[in-house]
Symmetry: D2
Subunit: 337 residues, 4 copies
């Protein structure tokens, strides 16, 4: 850490800050400049976060030099992590596609969707049993019944089930029925929930928060890993900006940033990330081209009857074209889908 | 709702949309323009949200005309709601101040802080027992021990206790010890938690999400009210923008927007809202001047020893000046503090 | 400046950076930490911006410690600047109000508006002769004819004229007719225009860019001052965020930030800053309460006939109430209007 | 346009709005709903923008249905526009690459850079003679001398010259020396400059504003086209968001949005768009994969000596790898580079 003293800071104030740091077990280095004195602090970052220095008199600001996260860090583990979900792999040269309806509506709807997903060669079926909705009066999902349908269709088809968990109280139920636990954007900093899924051994798909920085997102993954669960997959799903032509602004540079900072895999959701059906295919192709390890995409056997997010769902025909193009792009990138 | 058809939409497509709406029990009105046909839809909004129209062929977009929320709406209850917390009131001409340390650190620290708060004439003591922190390695709060300290100091001083609840599993404990349940910014759309606090009879302080719109915030309050708990207080705490001179951008116009849209009271947190100690007083004064019903402010008996957020905490002397100025501003606005 | 070396930086790389700095005439201080080496650089900031260090091998990042601007800095001139516009003052305990229609439409409209402005006790008449409009097909202003009308009405009433200049080619004309040159938000970083108005001796009202940081805004003022014109007034007019309930998000904390960083006066435009007529009065009051030196407000003698921005314009009656409340607030803040 | 009346609007207010519209020559359609009356307005959009309706009593809001721009609209011209710059083409299946240093520093630097650009097969040399810099004390460019160097090197190599114009006063000079006029992000809504370049016959590269919406950007192009210059090329260069891991957030979905809305070509600048050298190649590949018509990229023969933006400039070796990968991606997308 770097401590920048105010221009008018006295010698006594500088000494007081230095003393506090030395007492706390850190080494310090002073740089006395023309207008300001700067103190470099050396020692364990974790310990440093416990000492509040900005409140000491004469301190103008503290500048953090190193990141807080450790287990997610590529410095800690240089090679890519490949996550194995019952044989279906995510990371390395395995391109994973998670497809299915936004919400589970009926066993028929799910079964029909699953057939298209299976036929396309994708290995994961996604579908929401618990749905986070802005209004309390919108459809909230079939809950446990939806989980049962997912598990049933998973068994019938061999597809791995990805579904959202919205509260720690549902962990046992979701773990029983699902293969991958999804943490939604609105819960990315629900720290209690992160710790609880960290205590399970299920792979966790961690969506980026609506307005989360890459650094906060890495720290959210660290919450999960610090409890012992190392199977975390990031999912970029667009961030909130002033732009309204898309529902969110899909930030593909975050894929590159995450791959540089961490060894964990990252996939992209072009359906929620754009909110526009015609953008799903080109942005999916772009996601693979920047280096994503997979895609999550909404597909509905009959989008005109969808109970939620129909606007961005692919039809079966769209989905077939989409998968053909994603396979072609995977090959271009030296990956297999 | 207004449905805008594509320029090339055929007569058949228009009819198909109309038929779907009539079947669903809505009235429709057609406007055939030069380049586009527009369909006005009349009926119950709640029912409308169940029909997905944007997926029908020929539909360009749907424009929502009325809001989803009902119980929070000032159209539903025109007069201001005044919330009574064991005699301490929030709303109407009662200006509420909630002050105290960011985190409960010890009974001594809390007792000392409480004495300053009590002496200032404020009626609410705030302090975190469960702390949401970006990094899992930062101080997470004293948890139940912290709650016990809060309750003890509340009994000693008569101050009402405001503290954050981070997960539904802690509801019984927090309800036992606290007078007001605080929902933090990161949980504003933790819909499960909203519903659970909606089942209690405790007043709920609902902080605005990091990047929540006013409309989403009103809907989050609707989640609580729709479960039967009508005692909701909004708290503006700054939104995430590109600006870095402040930690967040305190959006005082949201106070005016909320007062216009809803009958519920709203307070402002200039400490987290700016993250800069020298801004707390002027922005607190500005908050009252735009019409806020109160303030939440961080005060620490010894900020140089604070375990979190020391940078924005007021010292006891700062706090005394702050309260004198807030009282003067309250009088200016015809309110009592 | 602080230079942070990469974790794997070699001794040679550190030496190379140091040598480059020493050659360029700077002093350096090394801090060798556990995982990183940090180099403190001491010397003239202006010279430092000419050396590109982040491109040297082994350098991870450069952290700037001091600001680039100098003449606008309160460290350079601690006391408040008071700007005198032909006897009408801005800054110190003088609260300035600039009111009038968004666009000049006719001499009658302007004369009528000016009478209300004059009667209210405000000293500045604002009105656009050149209008920046998103679409080329929207009303673009009366241009030089509008300037002539402004000057005429200024002479008749003694009100000082504030009007926007959109391009350097119009400087002579605008300087001939106006008392204060307004730089609009879209031109805040039109550096050529900034330099040109810096060569005149007219006071300049510098609106904040749509998405400008406080730091960029201070630097924009530095462009004007560095050419010799020290009469710069900042005008906060809302920033672009994801929120849509207001046209922009009025950032009142920027007023506090500017007052702390600079000696120059700052006013607030609650009309463009919110885009909502009912918000103008409360946000104007809030602006004065946080410490603004004045307000710019849209008033139209007949807003229902306004050619632009009618939605946020005050009617004559609104304006009378507004001014009464602003005067009351000025007194509360120890200022005169 | 759709006019939504307030819930309490009277019959007289509705009639007054209708009368105003009919007088102005529009057709109207009424939809009388349970809680609100809605008026559909049919007629010429351009005329509509001249009538202010939101100020009429009883009007809650006006919702625009169609876009303001016309000449840029794909509805107006369905097939892709291909722009021919002295034989070098942009659009259709021609992938254009514009490469070179951020700023022109000397004839030697430029000549060296141009050799690498030429060798790579790119057809455009970019370099700034006039540089927009946040601080007035940073390097501002070689101005006319820089233009002369660009023209000279252009003649020597046959590369087409792309350079920024910052003010209308420089139009003659820039037109004399350059093949493509670049409008920078800070000038995207410098409407005077847009009109002036619209009067020339030079192709214009229109960068997206720092925080411009896609709709504002299309309107900015309309300003140029409405003056008669139809050779406009969009350039996505990242937007301003809360994220700090990149300098800007490169919005690749804007490429898809622009291609859908307009017939004009669009290229992407991954250098400024990310500000991080290691992101330039993957984001460039992503840009082509989503459908961009080309790339603008910073390359410096010796980035360690660059006078500006060295951090994101590619070295000659980086650039060679970059071009090989872009060519491979162009082929994948059925384009030629």
């Amino acid at each position: 850490m770097i401590i920048v003293m105010e221009p008018k800071a006295t010698q006594e104030q500088v000494e007081a800050v230095k003393d506090r740091l030395v007492q706390a077990g850190f080494q310090t280095h002073l740089s006395v400049g023309e207008s300001r004195t700067i103190i470099g602090v050396i020692g364990d970052k974790k310990e440093m976060s416990k000492v509040e220095l900005e409140v000491l008199s004469g301190v103008e600001k503290c500048v953090s030099i190193t990141e807080d996260y450790k287990l997610v860090n590529r410095e800690f583990k240089p090679e890519d992590t490949i996550i194995d979900v019952g044989g279906a792999k995510i990371g390395g040269n395995h391109l994973a596609v998670m497809a299915g309806p936004c919400a589970v509506e009926s066993i028929e709807q799910l079964r029909e969707a699953a057939q298209y997903v299976k036929a396309s060669g994708a290995q994961f079926l996604r579908g929401g049993a618990f749905k986070p909705r802005t209004s309390p009066y919108a459809f909230q999902g079939l809950e446990v019944k939806g989980l049962e349908m997912l598990a049933k269709v998973g068994q019938e088809t061999g597809l791995k089930i990805v579904t959202e968990i919205m509260d720690a109280s549902a962990i046992d139920a979701v773990c029983e029925y699902a293969d991958v636990l999804q943490i939604g954007a609105r819960n990315m900093q629900n720290f209690y929930l992160l710790k609880e899924v960290g205590k399970t051994n299920k792979p966790v798909l961690l969506k980026r928060g609506l307005a989360a920085t890459v650094s906060e997102w890495l720290n959210a993954a660290e919450y999960i890993m610090s409890e012992g669960n190392f199977n975390v997959i990031f999912c970029e799903r667009g961030i909130r900006t002033y732009e309204t032509v898309t529902r969110n602004t899909l930030d593909l540079s975050a894929v590159v940033a995450i791959k540089a900072a961490s060894h964990l895999p990252i996939i992209v959701d072009p359906s929620h990330g754009t909110g526009v059906r015609n953008m799903v295919l080109p942005m999916g192709r772009g996601a693979i081209a920047v280096g994503a390890d997979g895609l999550m995409v909404e597909m509905h056997p009959n989008p005109a009857k969808a109970l939620c997010d129909g606007k961005q769902s692919l039809t079966p025909t769209d989905f077939e074209n989409f998968m053909a193009e994603m396979r072609r792009t995977a090959v271009f990138m030296g990956k297999t889908l």
